[in-house]
């Protein structure tokens, strides 16, 4: 494993675009820490974002993981180009001739995703912890780590998404097309949802609920659901509008964890099968 990781990180280290994208990602994440310092002047009184309570423990875990998840597209470009460039530079063939087996090649990419995501998750954890410690009034450890499962959900959803990028890269062999195919797949999932909710309405089925948990992109994004309606101000707003009590399950659902893990396995395995069957 160490050798395979060494090989993949060597490729990553010497790729300028990958490094630039990762640095942009890291800078944005770290910059998040300073958003709370930003003070608004509303009618003469100074208020900072932190006064909204969004940086309070344990809410911070949920909010930050949700927001930072949007940035995963930057890393997706890194993963896809690391895979697709092997095809466009024809280095895949050379790697195989030099003695890397097809299995090792996929494994080295997968290990890279694993370690890279671990590093990102650790960073997000640290940023959240620091933010919370700076802005939150809660200091008891048992209260601080109450919703820490969002960090785990962040990790699992990112692994699944990057495994999908790996598969897309192997499938179409070109970075731009691979990203395009993920986008098209996202639209496809939306269309499926449209159709299924129509069918549900018409025939009284519950396909929508099932698909929501099964389709890859949706189960990836459902691991961390949106946290905004949880903020008291927004929640009261919705309740006033709808004239009913607003309830939603914000927690990390086991079904999503399992489905995402299954997709991760499938995408990695399919990448290997595809590589094995094809003559590069």
């Amino acid at each position: 494993m160490k050798r395979l990781l060494d090989i993949e990180f060597h490729k990553f280290r010497n790729s300028k675009s990958s490094k630039v994208l990762t640095i942009i990602y890291l800078v944005i994440v770290v910059a998040l820490m300073f958003v709370g310092l930003y003070e608004l002047e509303i009618k003469g009184t100074k208020a900072s974002l932190s006064d909204l309570g969004i940086f309070d423990f344990p809410f911070i875990w949920h909010l930050s993981t949700y927001l930072i998840s949007f940035l995963k597209f930057l890393i997706a470009i890194v993963i896809v180009s690391l895979v697709a460039n092997e095809y466009s530079n024809r280095t895949l063939k050379q790697n195989l001739i030099d003695g890397l087996s097809k299995k090792e090649l996929i494994l080295s990419k997968f290990y890279f995703i694993l370690i890279f995501t671990t590093i990102l998750t650790a960073l997000v954890f640290l940023v959240c912890l620091l933010l919370g410690l700076i802005y939150s009034s809660i200091t008891e450890p048992n209260l601080i780590f109450i919703n820490i499962e969002f960090i785990a959900a962040f990790f699992i959803s990112h692994i699944a998404f990057f495994a999908m990028c790996l598969f897309a890269g192997v499938l179409v062999k070109r970075s731009a097309f691979a990203l395009g195919i993920i986008g098209v797949w996202g639209i496809f999932e939306l269309v499926i949802f449209g159709i299924s909710s129509y069918l549900d309405l018409k025939f009284g089925w519950s396909v929508w609920d099932l698909l929501r948990d099964v389709l890859p992109l949706n189960s990836i994004s459902n691991l961390v659901v949106e946290p905004f309606s949880k903020v008291s101000m927004v929640k009261t707003g919705i309740e006033t509008l709808s004239q009913s009590e607003f309830e939603k399950d914000y927690g990390v659902r086991w079904i999503n964890v399992i489905v995402c893990s299954v997709w991760t396995t499938l995408f990695t395995y399919w990448s290997y099968i595809l590589l094995k069957r094809r003559d590069p």
């Binding site: 050798r3 300028k16 280095t91 195989l96 001739i97 003695g99 890397l100 087996s101």
Partner: protein, 298 residues
């Protein structure tokens, strides 16, 4: 003698096209083999299969008498296929470091191998800034990193200028002198003739010939002969067992030989028969002639 590679009934179809047609061959240690064949004759596909890159349709191959798995065997082989493939933004050093990691060899070799191919001066420049000749030389350095027991080169001089071709040829000869087995696929016959001891000839995926270069064709070349009395010479030659087809040229007779003959002997016998030769010249058949003859048959 130690067998390095054994290929048995190897076959590859791309759809309805047959690229490699039931090829069987052995590569022995210490020889320099040339693989000849027109474009599309299956040279690269055959090499791709034994290098574990292309999946064969049927048949099998065995490296190093089957003592290691085909995957581990690759670590004892050095190979370049078609164009030199490296990471464009990495320098020579960085690219070779990666190859070292893949092949599990020490980085110490890098300097030594770059020196062999004369690339030390540009070792820190990115690969994309290299000329084709330099890229090809870097590929050779990369293939040599693990001190391979066999070096496989597929069209190493393709697209190079005369200096580049000369450089690559010198490098190959240097490596061959160290006793490394070499498999050189090329359609530059003159190149193969200069460096190879054995040849394999492929055409449309079939093996036409395999053996030493100088035994490639059973004939022994031809002689150009002339005398003042051409008619007498013609009838004199016709009786000899070693004489094949005789064709009359403006400046004499061209005689194909069935066996090796001593030129002095011919001269002496002719003189004893009252024929005074005005010209006697032995011409060895070039590899090119033999190759064209072989591949244009059938």
């Amino acid at each position: 003698m130690e067998t390095i590679l054994e290929i048995n009934q190897l076959h590859k179809n791309y759809g309805t096209l047959t690229a490699v047609d039931h090829i069987t061959l052995n590569i022995q240690k210490g020889h320099v083999y040339g693989i000849l064949g027109p474009n599309g004759s299956g040279k690269s596909t055959t090499l791709g299969i034994v290098l574990n890159v292309v999946n064969p349709t049927s048949g099998s191959y065995k490296w190093f008498e089957g003592t290691t798995s085909n995957h581990d065997a690759l670590k004892r082989i050095g190979a370049i296929i078609e164009h030199p493939n490296f990471y464009p933004s990495m320098s020579a050093i960085q690219n070779l470091e990666l190859v070292c990691k893949i092949k599990n060899v020490d980085k110490i070799k890098i300097q030594e191998k770059l020196a062999i191919v004369d690339l030390l001066e540009r070792k820190h420049s990115p690969f994309k800034t290299y000329s084709l000749g330099m890229k090809q030389r870097l590929a050779i350095a990369s293939a040599l990193l693990n001190d391979p027991e066999i070096l496989i080169l597929d069209e190493p001089t393709n697209g190079l200028d005369p200096q580049g071709i000369r450089q690559i040829r010198d490098i190959i000869q240097k490596i061959a002198a160290n006793g490394t087995t070499i498999l050189l696929a090329s359609h530059l016959l003159d190149e193969v003739e200069k460096v190879c001891s054995h040849v394999l000839v492929l055409r449309k995926g079939k093996m036409l010939y395999s053996g030493p270069v100088d035994e490639m064709n059973r004939n022994h070349g031809s002689i150009f002969i002339d005398a003042t009395d051409r008619g007498a010479l013609h009838s004199f030659l016709k009786e000899k067992t070693y004489v094949g087809k005789i064709s009359t040229r403006e400046d004499g007779l061209e005689v194909m030989l069935y066996e090796g003959v001593d030129m002095a002997q011919i001269n002496k016998e002719a003189f004893e028969n009252g024929i005074v030769l005005s010209k006697l010249l032995h011409k060895k058949q070039s590899l090119e002639d033999q190759f064209i003859e072989l591949t244009s048959q059938n």
